[in-house]
Amino acid sequence: MHRAGALPTDGRRLSLLRRAVVASLPGRCVQCGICSYNCPVGIDVRAQARRAEPVLDARCLRCGACVARCPRGTLQLTELAVI
């Protein structure tokens, strides 16, 4: 589990980001829409959070803007499980 602000700054950062995905924690989201509003590529992150689904949109930059802006700690950059 890695919060946006806690991403390592060395070489691990890139490999981590390659596998990272924005996911939401249950029971926290109040659908305020701050995440979608701050997404630089226009992904409706809120809709994903409502369905408790990770953001698998190919446009996602893993920039962490939604994670950082969520006032309720709903979103996390997590590692996608390797199948």
């Binding site: 926290r28 829409g33 701050i34 006032p71």
Partner: protein
């Protein structure tokens, strides 16, 4: 064709409509509400007030999602319930017949009780219209006075402050939100508020509001000081809107009493959301809460039951996450708390299940403004408050919700609180490994 009538336009009513439509494609669904706005996020109003998002961003469903529901929306007030005739009387005189009825009328702010409360500029904050008015008022307001407690009062304080209004927050007691926070947590929030420029006044309140030409111009504090202001905001708590239920003779305690199927005392009449008083397993009795997640879950389950899919409502552990003076705060389970002179009832985003009166040992870890407070029962963590750094938020949430037996680490937590985070995280990860 089953005729469903839903009273209310919050998340409980919307979730019920979605359940019903999924279960009964041919049913008719009529939704009555005094509000004509598209469905919006009520908790999100705080961020609209602070200027963090535009109003349209609060809409919680797309037009396409709403079209699928085929709702007949009526902008009207439901004023009387006649369960014997299976009908609801509306403010415009119209009668609405139902086969199944949902009361999702929410909770409303307690009005100000001081002299001068009827002056223009003395306000409470419930819905989008109130928020619009407050935003408009903030543009011509130089100085505001806020009273009350909990997250709503603070959201108003921070929202007005963010909009450049000189904001004075009057606390009756010694500290902020004594109902939920312990003294150290209150002090942390207060210090951040004060350093950002909010003026805190402790051990005082409003004796009366003074005005000229019908507009508020000042308040006289309980300490006798005159504080000139253009705006007075009151957030001393909310009460379930039970008038409609009462008009139909339904069983009402503090909220509308519902069964585990969310049915009221009248046949085929259901209740969900802030107005419903539903059984809480942790409390062992029906409790009120004003949490978005509870309202959504209750609406969903009520909708299933209204559609004939008998489904019990199982209340989850009470959880809310809020932002207090820029610090994310997660409150889960029974966090204890003291009497709070700033709140007459519960505030929005609160649960009665947070205060069950259970005696428990507290263990605390604090690093700067980050703080974790666990309340330990005999074998489980019965509640927790996590302020600031949220790394442990999810693990703690799950340990409380699952009532995990923490016997293996209980003594370590009590004797060595300085290693609380690592102890807890290791225990949580080991538990996950065992489950996998």
């Amino acid at each position: 064709m089953t005729r469903h009538v839903l009273v209310g336009s919050g998340i409980a009513a919307l979730a019920a409509a979605e359940s019903i439509r999924a279960a009964q494609p041919g049913a008719s669904i009529t939704l009555v509400s005094g509000e004509a706005h598209p469905f919006y996020s009520r908790p999100g109003l705080a961020y609209l007030l602070a200027g963090a998002i535009p109003e349209r961003q609060l809409q919680v469903r797309s037009p396409a999602e709403l079209a699928v529901l085929r709702l007949e929306r009526l902008t009207d007030r439901a004023v009387q319930l006649r369960p014997g005739d299976r009908e609801v009387l509306l403010g415009t005189g119209k009668r609405l017949s139902y086969d199944r009825l949902l009361l999702a009328t929410g909770a409303g702010s307690i009005p100000a009780d001081f002299a001068g409360a009827d002056l223009t500029g003395v306000v409470t904050l419930d819905g989008l219209d109130d928020t619009r008015r407050l935003v408009a008022a903030s543009k011509r307001c130089r100085r505001a006075v806020v009273i009350g407690g909990g997250s709503t009062a603070l959201e108003i304080v921070e929202g007005l402050h963010a909009r450049g209004v000189e904001t004075h927050y009057l606390l009756r007691g010694d500290r902020y939100w004594a109902r939920v926070l312990d003294p150290v947590e209150s002090a942390l929030v207060e210090r951040r508020l004060e350093s950002s420029g909010v003026m805190l006044h402790r051990r005082t309140g409003i004796a009366r509001a003074l005005g000229s030409e019908g507009r508020v111009a000042a308040v006289e504090t309980r300490a006798g000081a005159i504080l000139p202001c253009d705006l007075v905001c009151v957030a001393t708590g909310v009460r379930p809107r039970v008038e409609l239920a009462r008009s139909g003779g339904l069983s009402v305690d503090r909220g509308i009493v519902v069964s585990e199927y969310l049915e009221t005392s009248a046949p085929d009449v259901f209740a969900a959301g802030d107005v419903a008083q539903a059984y809480d397993p942790a409390a062992g009795r029906p409790v009120l809460d004003t949490l978005w997640s509870s309202a959504a879950a209750q609406g969903r389950v009520a909708g299933l039951n209204m559609s004939g899919q008998k489904t019990p409502y199982r209340k989850q552990v009470a959880l809310n996450v809020t932002c207090l003076a820029g610090l994310v705060a997660t409150v889960v389970g029974d966090v204890g708390g003291e009497d709070d002179p700033d709140l007459v009832t519960i505030t929005r985003g609160q649960s009665e299940a947070w205060h069950l009166g259970v005696t428990a040992m507290s263990v605390v870890d604090q690093q700067g403004d980050g703080r974790i407070r666990l309340r330990l029962g005999e074998r489980t963590i019965i509640g927790a408050l996590i302020l600031g750094n949220q790394t442990l938020s999810e693990p703690v949430q799950r340990l409380v919700a699952d009532q995990t037996d923490i016997t293996p680490i209980r003594a370590t937590l009590l004797e060595h609180p300085e290693v609380l985070p690592s102890t807890l995280l290791r225990f949580y990860q080991d538990r996950g490994d065992q489950a996998a």
